[in-house]
Symmetry: C2
Subunit: 209 residues, 2 copies
Amino acid sequence: MARKAATKPRKKASQERSRATVDALVEATARILVREGFEKTSTNRIAEVAGVSIGSLYQYFPGKEALVAAVIDRHNEEIMALVRAALVEVAEMPIEKAVRRLVTVAIEAHRIRPELHRVLAEQIPRAGKLDVEAYGREVHALVRAYLDSRRKEMRKLDLDVATFICVSATEAVAHNVVLNQAEILPEKVVRRLVDETTRMLVGYLRRSA
Amino acid sequence: MARKAATKPRKKASQERSRATVDALVEATARILVREGFEKTSTNRIAEVAGVSIGSLYQYFPGKEALVAAVIDRHNEEIMALVRAALVEVAEMPIEKAVRRLVTVAIEAHRIRPELHRVLAEQIPRAGKLDVEAYGREVHALVRAYLDSRRKEMRKLDLDVATFICVSATEAVAHNVVLNQAEILPEKVVRRLVDETTRMLVGYLRRSA
DNA sequence: AGAAAAAGCGAGCGATTGCTCGCATTATGG
DNA sequence: CCATAATGCGAGCAATCGCTCGCTTTTTCT
């Protein structure tokens, strides 16, 4: 609180070409994470790959964690863009169609950058955890709102519990589909998994036994 | 292949008190992981906390990765013991009871050492990945075998796909229950989650639409 | 008892890491 | 056109890391 390093604001926004520098640094971080792993991701290496000096790096980022956090945020934002769009698109659909769409999107979202996703999932640093939780809460709220709006088509259920379970299950299937089989994913199998997951969720949400 | 360091077998089994040394090292690694995080987990620190010299550490473990892998293995083995026992216990039960039991055990298993589980889940090192996959395959095989034995009570389904989805969903719920809410877990809510998850899975597996 | 093997020790090496600071280069605006 | 700010630079320091090696202590076996 007291000090803020007057002469060296450490982390400053950009006005001109500095934007490019920041982008290059984040992009380099992502590439190194994917191609060399988290352990090899040092600030010196990042600067080198980005074609930027370490001095410049520290003008925009307070440390390695900040770089990695930026990569994570970028990736999460891409995913969230898909998810948000899907939830809007789905707002007026009946649950069967909606669930199918959402499950499909969940898998697509996890497939945006499989290798990066894998690294981020497997070698989590430490920071950014709060942000991830924030995204989680947002998804929960959005899905909950949809389920609430379609209450009439469903059995009596505890909205929060149902949302929690549906979101967890969907994420898990998407996550495992991308992480376990990775590259070799016959489109047929994916469709099959979407069908089955949809069946499970719809069966769980609908009225009737 | 060529060299094996004859005078320094590096990683040797134990005969007497050395057992205690190895245990102390693994236990110290776990404690540091939980209390100081993965970054602070250096071989020097591990030796210090274990009350053992670095020299001794390197007599039994080829490096930091091996220590962490040992902790992971230990933890996974504890979990697998519960899971294996549950699957035996459940072998003769009808699906409703069996699923309820398995979901309960999944949550219990994730609760063995919540903080350690969290660290291992959040700050994975790199090694041991193969072992984790091996456990995953074992669970898959066991569950698949159970489902196969109860085929008559269920609708026609692709065993592998159904197993994959059920295991993924159950693990995800258990995982999130432990990681998200962590300490504050009213027993009532847990029961509720078990009930709902069971309902979803049984509804998915049973015959009838 | 004594010798050999097993276990334990820790100073200290070479390498790497995160990061600073003084200076050079480029843009902006009066 | 030049003063001032913004941006970029990179040698190099202090700290830390993983790890070795020569040595002492303890145990085992005869």
